[in-house]
């Protein structure tokens, strides 16, 4: 299993790009640590839930934008992926609202 095509050039690593990836990883770890801190210091309530949801969206943006490279893709591709997510937002609002109504009827 010798290297069949040794004529293929290996490009040296782009230090700046790799540094950026580790920075993103650091941000993700830091945000998770903050979530931990909030989980045990804050009183449970709507504010706590919204902070968690906000931080989760921050993490999701970094993963999809940087790791999955979506930020750097063509705009058509970017919006083709993001716009359908509106349905998920609507589903979340409708279902949780419905759930609370069911709870009031049952209990």
């Amino acid at each position: 299993m010798e290297h069949a095509e040794d004529n293929i050039q290996v490009i040296p690593p782009n230090k700046e790009k790799i540094k950026r990836l580790w920075t993103v990883a650091g941000i993700l770890a830091a945000v998770t640590a903050v979530e931990f801190l909030i989980a045990f210091t804050m009183h449970h309530g709507p504010l706590k839930v919204s902070i968690f949801v906000g931080l989760t969206i921050v993490k999701a943006a970094y993963i999809v934008g940087e790791f999955m490279h979506l930020r750097y893709e063509v705009k058509v591709l970017f919006w083709s992926i993001l716009i359908p997510m509106i349905f998920v937002v609507w589903m979340l609002v409708a279902f949780v609202y419905e759930g609370m109504a069911i709870g009031e009827l049952r209990f």
């Binding site: 290297h3 989760t56 999955m68």
Partner: protein, 239 residues
């Protein structure tokens, strides 16, 4: 034909949608991976949102967290359920173990993106190295989940099954099994795909093909698995 470069410029007077160029600047395989992931995102959203519906239709525990006891009457507080760590039996460490699992998955996402970067540079040895680390991360995560499930099922007596559990209403365990199970199955598939990519890298398939785009496509899937875990972590364990 598999071009990974940016948008091609159409001939003068013609739109990018008139054919002959790729308007989205991505190959067919990569686009299909994106749209598959979009549909998979809908599936996971449906599961998590249904969890939200069922949870919000059950009474919530209203007392102080210190006095919390497990009951069928209200939905349990997750941090009271998930508080064990392997090898530290009897030590109360709420959410520490899932925190470790989250960290493992994020790290394996980083090694995956480093493998993709190495692939762009045609650096076969580096792709092999980073793919191995990614596979290792995936297997570690699955092992952690196996322990987590075992602990959840055995519990402190009655434990949990699909019809009854000691932590709260039956739906609580059902959702735990369904959501983390479905995610775990995705991780398992990801590890298999990663292994395939590793194997093809070692045997020089991509070297002969002239590009490492397959690492990128499987990488998208692997990051998605990490992304879903971020949401499961928030909505199942934190909220």
């Amino acid at each position: 034909m598999a071009s990974t470069t940016g948008v091609n410029v159409p001939a003068p007077g013609r739109s990018v949608w008139d054919g002959g160029v790729s308007p989205m600047g991505a190959s067919y395989g990569k686009l299909m991976m994106w749209f598959f992931l979009l549909s998979d995102a809908f599936t996971f959203s449906a599961l998590l949102i249904t969890y939200g519906l069922v949870r919000s239709s059950h009474p919530a525990y209203t007392g102080s967290p210190e006095d919390f006891v497990f009951s069928q009457e209200y939905w349990p507080i997750p941090e009271k359920v998930f508080e064990a760590v392997p090898f530290f039996h009897g030590w109360e460490a709420p959410l520490v173990f899932v925190g470790i699992m989250t960290f493992i998955l994020i790290m394996s996402s980083v090694t995956m993106v480093l493998a993709v970067e190495a692939g762009h540079r045609m650096d076969r040895d580096a792709v092999e190295k980073w793919m191995l680390w990614t596979i290792l991360g995936g297997i570690t995560f699955l092992s952690c989940q196996a322990w987590e499930w075992t602990h959840f099922i055995h519990g402190t007596g009655v434990g949990a099954s699909l019809s009854f559990n000691e932590y709260g209403p039956p739906d609580f365990a059902a959702f735990f099994f369904f959501i983390t199970g479905f995610h775990g199955f995705h991780v398992f598939s990801g590890v298999c795909l990663n292994f395939m990519v590793y194997y093809n890298t070692v045997t020089g398939v991509y070297q002969r093909r002239g590009h490492y785009e397959m690492v990128e496509k499987v990488g998208l899937y692997w990051h998605f698995v990490d992304l879903v875990w971020v949401f499961v972590f928030t909505f199942f364990y934190l909220v």
